[in-house]
Symmetry: C2
Subunit: 418 residues, 2 copies
């Protein structure tokens, strides 16, 4: 089976200051097109090392897809390195030169000599147009019919070039390929070991479709991947396995693929014709942001009060000043009043509140950093509070508190005891 | 100069479904320790290909740092592949077996045979303890004194193992190395081409320290990297260049290194003894989340109202129902009233509001998707509104509106005309 490798160029990738999102984007697009990626590399802005990486990948695969190093600066060495690896010279690609001259003329700036080199492509290359920048890409050919496709590293230039020019080239080159279809089953509130315990026997039993478990904080995804010649065939291979996994994890499955905990909650509450409000202290707007990420959320999510200051808890949520003084902001009573106030003041049917110590300061022996209280109010005796001790730094505690809130709300909306 | 390579193992990395954050984390920690990383690879869960990647990296570098593939499943093949690459067998590492047995006993679950293989390390390895999971790491040695350090792929297990065991090993192995110090100058509201125009002459002139420009939406970072034998020496090399860049970009520089737009705004407003409130419609809690990410923000940031539903704009922010009906929620008048209401109701000195069409639905010819209005109210005649047409999908519009709001607030707090 033919395969390609991905090579990302840039010293910044090796210093860890930039997370390389180009490689996963390319990998994902190639998987959709049924093109197998067996390995990826990243390499710094060094001509000999880039050439070495190209040779290594070409020895293992039929083609190499590269990003980065096509700019005008002295650090941009991908063109030269590919020429070295393939042992070819360069040809001037006139249309790219004309396009660059037009861009510089438009902005009234002189074109420098080093821009010209962007139009000098490895001899015999097929140029790739770049409507979003000055650097053209190219597909260079090795003597044994292997190839190297080079694209700029700027995502907004790379993405359309990949989709519109490189993927069609690869599809044609490799003929009709197998398709890989992926189904993601999202769970919340089940521990990784609990999920493993329930479905471990399925992991070893399947090669195609294949199962993988991806654990996040308070959430875990079970991924099913099937390879087949058509998407329909792959779907049919996935269906029975998906049904079995969902049967075993039912109390934790909130959705599939693009679903999020917030979208699942809104779908349930919309069907129940109930509207939701949030009162956030330590989560500081993150729960509201999760709900407002969902298109159409305004039908069900009415809004939130981020009551960071105690005076705001009193004025906007009708929290009793005496309760704040007696018990402090991080207390069951205040959490309860925040939820009740948000429901009444924002005109919702259900409201959830958060109050806690996100740190790094403000913790005490009794109320340590990481203590977060939640209250849910729906105007009935189902209203209740929860207390969690969350681990991590400020950011982790805020994120985990947000996910805990979504878990509680999802189970409530589903009619499960959270 | 000795160098290491990083190899990440996992088929999920090659399908683009998981962004590999381990590699940049390791790269960043090694850079801090002055250890040179020249290339990285990622490879799928395939024994022969993992062994091949190890051989490739070992041929180019003194050492390899690996993550992933140490678990108990049949897909976890890093141990076996490293044995293949180094042509050694395995030794049972008793303490790891004991620790695993204790963990399983604690949870009352039987230990399966496949867990035992986690304690079987390449012969002659130095084990790396894993207090956060069952899989020990190890450093295996090639006959020519080159080495392969293997760590689990779970970040919470990998990170402490790297910092506490692998980096100290590398420092000792390589002796005192050069240190790389990085200074990041953060700007907001200056275009990439504007920054390039102002400092382009500096890029080519410097090799050490070296300058790079990283562009984000509405923000750009100029990064200065210096290599020297001590951090003090590197700092001294950075200082004059930093001063020159800041002089040229002064109207856009909001901070350095760990600073964020929100932390810069809070620092300015705290020094002015002014308190801030936010009224968010289309940004849905994201501005509040940015401020509450900053430790100690509660001194200056009092809170926010996420007024998604029009009724909440009326009840919580005193927006005039007539104004909503006459002009719609996305109008200068409503933006102004939201800001005024937030300032008054939340007891702040300054308030900013957002209202706009995040899409994908709800756009009209007059008020298209991407139209976002902002208003700032400080109780004086400085109060004003802005209108922007932002590009992208829902998520991009919400993020860009958030960044625009922070840009406006920062310039306001600094006394610049936004």
């Amino acid at each position: 089976m033919p395969s390609v490798e991905i090579v990302a160029v840039g010293t910044e990738l090796l210093l860890g200051q930039l997370v390389d999102t180009n490689t996963p984007f390319i990998a994902s697009e190639l998987a959709r097109a049924g093109i197998d990626v067996r390995a990826t590399q990243s390499v710094g802005d060094n001509r000999a090392r880039i050439a070495g990486a190209v040779r290594t990948s070409l020895a293992r695969a039929q083609g190499v897809v590269m990003t980065g190093g096509l700019g005008p600066t002295i650090d941009d060495l991908t063109r030269e390195a590919v020429c070295d690896a393939l042992e070819v010279g360069t040809d001037l690609y006139e249309p790219a030169l004309r396009q660059m001259e037009a861009i510089f003329a438009k902005f009234g700036r002189p074109m420098r000599a080093n821009n010209r080199k962007q139009a000098e492509l490895p001899a015999g290359s097929r140029p790739l147009d770049n409507p979003h920048g000055t650097a053209p890409g190219f597909i260079a050919f090795a003597s044994d019919e292997k190839f190297v496709a080079c694209m700029p590293g700027v995502p907004r230039e790379m993405k359309p070039m990949l989709r519109e020019q490189v993927v069609p080239f690869l599809r044609e080159r490799f003929g009709a390929r197998e398709t890989i279809v992926t189904r993601i089953i999202h769970t919340i509130g089940l521990g990784e070991s609990e999920i493993d315990h329930r479905i471990a026997d399925l992991f070893g039993s399947y090669e195609n479709p294949k199962i993988a478990l991806l654990a996040h904080d308070f959430r875990a995804d079970v991924k099913i991947m099937a390879k087949a010649s058509t998407a329909d065939e792959a779907d049919a291979m996935i269906a029975p396995l998906q049904a079995e996994i969902v049967r075993r994890l039912e109390d934790g499955v909130f959705g599939y693929d693009a679903d999020t905990p917030a979208s699942a909650i809104l779908t349930l509450m919309r069907s129940q014709q109930r509207r939701l409000a949030i009162a956030e202290s330590c989560t500081g707007g993150r729960i509201a942001a999760a709900f407002t990420s969902v298109p159409g959320s305004s039908q069900t999510f009415v809004g939130a009060v981020v009551a960071y200051d105690n005076a705001v808890k009193i004025s906007q949520l009708d929290v009793d000043a005496g309760a704040l003084e007696r018990n402090g902001a991080v207390s069951d009573e205040v959490a309860r009043e925040m939820a009740r106030g948000a429901r009444a003041r924002l005109g919702a049917d259900v409201a959830l509140s958060t109050t806690g110590v996100a740190g790094p300061d403000g913790g005490t022996a009794e109320k340590p950093v990481g203590l977060v209280l939640f209250a849910l109010d729906d105007g009935t005796e189902n209203s209740r509070t929860w207390s969690f001790r969350l681990e991590g730094d400020r950011e982790a505690i805020q994120q985990r508190a947000t996910m805990t809130a979504l878990n509680l709300l999802w189970r409530y909306a589903k009619g499960q005891e959270p």
